[in-house]
Symmetry: C2
Subunit: 401 residues, 2 copies
């Protein structure tokens, strides 16, 4: 097995997953707490609803795809049941955060809680054969799609004089549909199958958000795909766009569709250029379409998750294209990330570094950082590299005639 | 005149105010644009409603307190009239941002736009004797107070299981009431005079937010003043609390009330301890009540405005107590700030530095940075030090018997 496959596997199974099983899972009230200090001690008992779904998905997915360890199934069950019992408002829309005991704390405009719940229910349904979780996956994805794609459903952040749409809702629709299809089949939700939702969203991203003439994938555009020449429209999020790129490459790989692979690779190409910090290494959080100053304060910090997503995207591009330059990019982001983010003393990764790679926060988890991007990367990349996972290891499709 | 008075005056009159008059004031549509690059060129034409008020106040206040320069009155008029014409929603509540032409962009939950509009109308009323501005000042302050202090008026960020209140609404009520009283007299709004509002708010801050037993002024507490032992309750904002401290010292100075002065000085003392970075110098943006990690990403950055507020607070404390240690603190924050924030090439200050003092963003203005904290500091400190402003230069009140 290639040495990186061993590193990914061992970091996943012996370090990251045990860290969260030991420190995050709430043995008293169920579910998971993610606001933890460097050594795993709890800083804040409030629970992220995103992470009940994301962690539930991760644990159930390990159970489904690696081996049926009872502790993983139990952790998944704990998150899924906490989510079901405490995380939906009386109207059905899910909260953003709840107390340790499960009392409502905060509702937000958007519906990512629902998408992450959907993938956890789907993976748990596959793990257990449980019909209720199967149905909950469908109804959460339905809610997500309804709020995200029915005009007027989601209260807009801006007034009608500045209508805009974000890439986030499309990306999350793609990956949620991929996970549902993988776990419970190509089900039909809101009159489209998962595959049809994926097609629809990829088409809209390619048409309205990907601007090869500017060498950029935008985060936020006018409803017709026009560039919004204000901070909101110009602010690029390279790690986010690269995450989107690998969702599309992954779809291309499953379908052996070279055009999809090529679309993802081209998105990766331009956003690597936009995001890689040629001074200190690592990926900048935000950059500006026209190289102006970015208004968000943490624009030049290095966060763990864009690095996780770029490690996946470059490895997948290397595998699908066979081109050595993606191997080199993969090595570059892999090495920078393991050198700067890893905590060799207490396990897991730090999440928040200064531009020059020094640690800004010693926290291992927050309402936004928990067992998701890092273990997903380790799980995905291990399987890509290890011949023991044949479905991940089909040779690249032949070049078109 | 002491050298610092000359520095403050010259930086204000020859550098900062000309920078904004030249680059910010919109000669075409009126009002001010604040999103500017290092050299003053416009990055984003969208307008901050806060800054129509803040800049209008600053320009009118210079006109009222320094000398009646027509260009200052004209800049104030431009901001005041743009604000009046374009910044209120049909229901009366003011927006957070509008387009260059004045079309609505974004509405937010809170009502700081209204408070900043109130002080600009009040200062402009004094400059011009204009009744309409006098009345607009009253009605904006009324709106501010109504939304801030009528239970249930402002949609809470959190669900009822985590009720909380912030120090911001009280601080802004104090300074707004101080400005109204100074410019249009001790008017009565919502059944209290300005002075009574100030008393009410200082009492609540002292009772519920100042925790001498913890050496901290909290940003956010339970409705009864209890500590919320979660991120929201533990996150301290030293520069903000120090700004509050000088509002209270200023009130104490006006009233020759030693107890008020002492309250402000004690708040300054503990928040300097909390905020001053003993490693790199300067004031940290956020720290944690129990020294845990802070969740906000920019917690350890150095922003211009906490330094402006601390320069005022330490100088005022030195003046009001006569204690040499406040002179020393003033010198310390003054020197660090002028060394790191000043742009000797294009004028104005940078706003956003890394913890170690290196520049993070070259922008001179954003939706949150424009002609307010820096010129207010220069204006206030110049007058404190220059004997030509006798009302600022009464000797400290005698020690109590």
């Amino acid at each position: 097995m290639p040495p990186d496959a061993v590193l990914y596997r061992d970091t996943l199974l012996d370090n990251v997953i045990p860290f969260w099983l030991q420190h995050g899972i709430d043995r008293e009230h169920g579910g998971i707490m993610t606001c933890v200090d460097r050594d795993g001690s709890i800083i804040d008992t409030d629970k992220s609803v995103w992470f009940q779904g994301r962690a539930g998905w991760m644990f159930a997915t390990l159970y489904n795809t690696i081996e049926p360890r009872p502790e993983w199934l139990e952790a998944a069950r704990s998150c899924v049941e906490f989510s079901r019992a405490h995380c939906s408002s009386p109207g059905g829309k899910m909260y953003f955060s709840v107390t340790r005991e499960g009392r409502a704390l905060r509702m937000r405009r958007y519906v990512f809680s629902e998408a992450f719940a959907a993938i956890s229910y789907a993976a748990y349904a596959r793990a257990t054969g449980d019909d209720r979780s199967h149905n909950d996956a469908l109804s959460c994805f339905d809610l997500y799609l309804h709020h995200s794609f029915t005009p007027g459903m989601m209260p807009p952040k801006f007034e009608p004089s500045r209508s805009m749409k974000g890439i986030g809702a499309l990306m999350i629709a793609i990956v949620t549909a991929q996970e549902l299809r993988d776990n419970i089949g190509d089900v039909c939700v809101r009159e489209r199958t998962c595959t049809e939702w994926i097609d629809r969203c990829i088409r809209e991203i390619e048409r309205d958000f990907f601007k090869p003439e500017h060498g950029a994938v935008l985060e936020c555009v006018a409803p017709d795909g026009g560039i919004i020449d204000h901070h909101e429209g110009r602010t690029l999020n390279p790690g986010h766009a690269i995450e989107c790129a690998w969702f599309i490459m992954h779809e291309g790989s499953l379908r052996r569709d070279r055009q999809l692979v090529d679309l993802g690779v081209r998105m990766l190409d331009c956003m690597w250029q936009r995001g890689w910090d040629t001074v200190h290494g690592g990926l900048l959080y935000f950059t500006d379409l026209f190289d102006g100053p970015v208004q968000e304060y943490w624009h030049d910090m290095k966060f763990w998750w864009p690095h996780n997503e770029t490690i996946i995207a470059t490895l997948l591009a290397a595998k699908l294209t066979g081109e050595a330059r993606y191997e080199a990019l993969h090595r570059q982001v892999h090495d920078w990330s393991f050198k700067h983010f890893q905590d060799t003393e207490h396990g897991e990764w730090f999440g928040y570094l200064h531009r020059d790679g020094r640690i800004s926060s010693r926290a291992k988890g927050t309402m936004y950082k928990g067992p998701f991007h890092l273990p997903r990367m380790l799980w995905y990349c291990w399987r890509l590299l290890d011949p023991a996972f044949p479905s991940m290891n089909r040779p690249p499709e032949p070049a078109p005639p």
